[in-house]
């Protein structure tokens, strides 16, 4: 399995896509900190301050989706499957694991930027300061959300197999389906991957789910979609 991980890692880091997502992630982190800590008024509660440290897990969902779907778009999945010495499901599992690892690295980078920029700015706000425990919990939640989102995105990419279609579907679900669901069943949104990732990364607070519960919800989605993707990968043709 280690040879599959090594090969997939080489593939992942030898295009400029990873650089683009790293820059995008850092840019979003900076914008989020400025928007929450400087432009949204007074933050006098811990959850509000935690929001300044939150990241955007959907970015990692996109990272996994675009990267894995691109394997089929550029027909790079077939040569990998032909040399991997394991069945296609194992090759895809290795690919998803590499997206989890790179998701962790990208998440660490953006979270470090968020924390480094936000903590000095949050010191100017009234109310209780964030303890190191609070910050650690937010960082852990963010990293978990990033890794799970990257895995979920990679699994979705393997199922959808088209980066453009995948991104369109993702945007429609995030910006149309989820708000519609929210209108019908508000707490139901928390059970979607987007809602759960938002709670886990502290973008949303005061919800019906605890952070830990949101983590389990997102993990359940991730495991289920990944299993489906691996099973389907073994049965479908490769172009």
């Amino acid at each position: 399995m280690s040879h599959l991980l090594r090969g997939e890692l080489i593939k992942t880091v030898t295009t400029r896509t990873v650089l683009g997502f790293a820059v995008g992630g850092v840019a979003f982190a900076v914008l989020n900190v400025l928007a929450v800590a400087m432009w949204s008024g007074t933050l006098d509660e811990v959850p509000e301050k935690e929001e300044a440290l939150s990241a955007l897990p959907i970015l990692l969902l996109l990272w996994g989706l675009v990267g894995t779907a691109g394997e089929y778009r550029h027909r790079t999945a077939a040569p990998a499957a032909l040399v991997g010495r394991r069945h296609r499901g194992a090759v895809l599992s290795a690919r998803i694991a590499v997206y989890a690892l790179t998701g962790l690295l990208l998440g660490t980078l953006t979270t470090m930027v968020s924390v480094g920029l936000a903590l000095p700015l949050l010191g100017d706000h009234p109310g209780p300061d964030l303890t190191s425990g609070d910050v650690g919990a937010v960082v852990a939640g963010n990293l978990a959300a990033f890794v799970l989102s990257a895995i979920l995105g990679a699994a979705l990419g393997a199922l959808i197999r088209s980066p453009v279609l995948g991104v369109v579907v993702l945007l429609i679900v995030n910006f149309a389906v989820v708000p519609l669901l929210s209108g019908v069943w508000e707490s139901g949104v928390n059970l979607t991957p987007f809602g759960a990732a938002g709670i886990l990364s502290r973008m949303t607070h005061h919800t019906t789910l605890s952070v830990a519960e949101a983590g389990w919800v997102l993990a359940a989605w991730t495991v289920a979609v990944t299993l489906v993707a691996v099973i389907v990968e073994r049965r479908r043709d490769l172009a």
Binding site: R6, G7, E8, T14, R75, A80, L82, R236
Partner: protein
Amino acid sequence: MTSSRTFAGDPAAIRVEGLTKRYGRRTAVDDLSFTVGSGRVTGFFGPNGAGKTTALKAVVGLARPTAGRAFVRGTSATTIRPDARLLGVHIEPCGAHPGRTGRAHLRSLAALAGLSRRRVGEVLELVGLEEEAAKLRVGKYSMGMRQRLGLAAALLGDPEILVLDEPVNGLDPQGIRWLRTLLRDRAANGGTVLLSSHMLGEAAQTVDDVILIDRGRLVHEGAIRDLERSGESVVVVRTAEAERLSGLVARAGGRTKREDGDRLLVEGLGVAEVARLAHRDGVLLEEIVQRTASLEDAFFGLTGGAER
């Protein structure tokens, strides 16, 4: 190459039995059966859209057959453990990300295959991709360079069996000659090559055996020499005494046809027999030559391609 490697007891390198592949209502490959012998270069020919690539994908395990089976060294292609040392595959396009360099593409495949990084340099040199070219992103490659990169990927594991889809596409004459030599050398050392092409004339110089398909069905399988012989040859004779020679040929059991005034086409007799008849009866021949039907003629005859 390490030709002594064997993977199972099947004497055939590749065996296809009743392979059918349908996409919705369209049947791309229809009940196709053939065998690829070990140590041979086998050409897999057919017109565009005949189902060659689909059949090759089923042979290497990328496409699942709707019916029938394909075996590589006796193991079903759907269950075989992919191994770059057993099977090297190049199916167009080359399967490299346009944003990745050629070298990085090969490095990733070598790692996936459990091969050493050194092998990347070896195959790059083997296919004639210079160091500078290997550092370029694949998106900037010419078609010939992509083709060479695809071949390099197929050769990474120094495989026992090579399956190549239209390998001469985009190669310049030097590249075609290089590939021909490479494939012949591999066969001479016990390797097996299955290559598809729609350019029979070019590939015929490389192959030992021929599998010809049309509309997804097998129309001919055998040695290339048999295919060459299957095209009917004629003896072309130029003489001022065409009428007299026609009579002699008819009495000897042959048939004649007039072509371009004094030129006579003789069917059913060899050039030596025609010359002997003319000599015996004192018919002066100004020219006598055997015209062999080309492989393309045989190809069109078998596929009906000339009428399309």
